[in-house]
């Protein structure tokens, strides 16, 4: 589904953010991306849908390499959800926001409406179409943020710290939602208890490199490994 080969990225100011990343993610596979702040998690996510273009190496999404000609299909295929829902939800109403992706994919209006209703239903936010984001709780906004990409029927979801800042009940709801979605996922997070519940596979990123890639159980049970990468025991 998603294939990263020898991906490197250097910021314009010369900082090396990603170094020789190799990653393969199968259809429907749920992967947690963990590691300290500044390890390159967000930078990596921004590469998955081509917002950042790699300086060297290659990314293919569903068999298509990311290039100028394929960028629009890639963005429909990889649904990117940012950490702050106030950045993700930029329209005045929930409906407009969930419809933004499908409309810009060039779908006809009937289809768009159907997709909006389905996506909101999937995240349990039916009936919120006409609501405004500033009238909603953080948990509700996070759910709608996920709906804004589900309406584009992506094959992969890339989520940046989805559980950050949520109260226990909203966090529980989010975990159940992530478990119920059939898509492949790459989720950056510090929430190791969520990792244990949702993600069979974990990738640890440290200083721009893949430091560990394997079954979540292996790392979650290994106190020394957790300690080394500054992670919390669940």
């Amino acid at each position: 589904m998603l294939e990263l080969t020898d991906l490197c990225y250097t910021y314009p100011d010369g900082t090396e953010a990603l170094r020789h990343i190799d990653l393969r993610i199968a259809e429907g596979e749920k992967v947690a991306l963990v590691g300290p702040n500044g390890a390159g998690k967000s930078t990596l996510l921004l590469h998955l849908n081509g917002v950042l273009r790699c300086r060297s190496g290659a990314i293919t999404v569903a068999g298509h390499p990311i290039a100028d000609e394929t960028i629009r299909q890639v963005r429909a295929q990889v649904g990117m959800v940012f950490q702050d829902p106030d950045d993700q939800l930029f329209s005045p109403t929930v409906f407009d926001d969930v419809a933004f992706g499908p409309l810009h994919m060039g779908l006809d209006e009937q289809d768009v409406r159907g997709r909006v209703l389905r996506a909101l239903d999937q995240v349990g936010m039916s009936g919120f179409e006409r609501r405004m984001p500033h009238h909603m709780s953080l948990g509700q906004r996070k759910r709608v943020a996920i709906a804004t990409v589900l309406s584009m029927s992506p094959g992969v979801l890339a989520l940046d710290e989805p559980s950050a800042g949520l109260d226990p009940r909203a966090r529980r709801g989010l975990i159940d939602l992530l478990r119920s979605l059939p898509q492949a996922m790459v989720v950056s997070t510090h929430d190791m208890r969520m990792v244990a519940e949702v993600f069979p596979r974990t990738v640890v990123l440290a200083q721009g490199q893949v430091a560990f890639d394997g079954p979540s159980e292996a790392i979650l049970g290994d106190g020394e490994l957790l300690e080394r990468y500054g992670l919390e025991r669940p």
Binding site: N49, V51, D87, L89, S91, T93, D96, H104, M132
Partner: protein, 266 residues
């Protein structure tokens, strides 16, 4: 929910037929009403009374509360003071002399008529606009503006502005609160610094807010790109107005035109 949300949103929730009316119809009718108020000649008391009765009947049907609308409409009252002078400057038959030390102010009938007319007409116009705001989600007003062919760029800017108004005001309020928490005064000393210093503090807050806003707009742009934005804004096209709605527009417009015409010629 934040403080600003409740203070800023003037929409009053309800299920009335006025709430259910299409925003385009409401916007156009409110404009027609305000235009008619502006066109009414001074001293057209019957015209003003009929218009007021008409508006208040609609307000009652909207169930937002006549009292709310009327009291909120006093917002424009300070401005009426600019017009008070009409009473003493318009030539006409003197009705009252106010001696003021060495000077005498002379109120005239023409002046008084002009002043009272302006205040009443302005007050009713504000009520019409308030009724529109109280019964219409601002997002629907935005749809109406788009449907009425306001350029897309402007509607887009207004939409973003409305969406982020609340986010920005929350940030601004957090800054003000932080300033208040640190504005201590020692006993026996005057705190607060000079006006220039205080203005400088506000200026820095403004600058900080600007940079945060700029950074947010960058993140929003990336979020838009991620969902397929490529420079052209697409929206769902508006539905056509039904014949009932068109009829309502026609009747409302004709009524206001009638009130104005009758006031001039009767």
């Amino acid at each position: 929910m934040t403080l600003s949300t409740s203070t800023l949103d003037r929409y009053i929730d309800g299920q009335s037929p006025i709430h259910g009316l299409d925003a385009r119809v409401k916007l156009l009718l409110a404009l027609a009403y305000i235009l008619a108020m502006a066109l009414l000649p001074p001293g057209a008391w019957t015209g003003i009374a009929v218009s007021a009765a008409l508006l208040w009947w609609v307000v009652l049907r909207s169930e937002v509360g006549l009292r709310t609308i009327i009291t909120r409409a006093f917002v424009a009252l300070p401005f009426a003071l600019v017009a008070v002078t009409l009473v003493f400057t318009r030539p006409g038959a003197p009705i009252l002399r106010i001696p003021l030390g060495p000077w005498v102010l002379t109120a005239t009938d023409v002046g008084l008529t002009a002043f009272v007319s302006i205040v009443l007409k302005s007050w009713l116009s504000v009520q019409a606009a308030l009724l529109l705001t109280a019964t219409t989600h601002f997002t629907d007003v935005l749809y109406a503006l788009r449907a009425l062919h306001l350029p897309n760029v402007l509607v887009a800017i207004l939409s973003f502005a409305y969406r982020y108004l609340f986010v920005m005001i929350d940030e601004g309020q957090r800054m003000l609160r932080a300033r208040e928490c640190r504005s201590a005064e020692l006993p026996g000393r005057r705190g607060g610094g000079s006006i220039r210093w205080r203005a400088g503090v506000v200026g820095q807050m403004v600058g900080t807010l600007f940079l945060r806003s700029y950074e947010r707009s960058e993140r929003i742009y990336v979020a838009m790109l991620s969902r397929g934005f490529s420079g052209e804004l697409r929206t769902i096209s508006p539905r056509a107005l039904s014949s009932v709605e068109q009829g309502l527009l026609l009747v409302g417009g004709a009524t206001m035109a009638g009130i104005v015409l009758v006031s001039y010629f009767v």
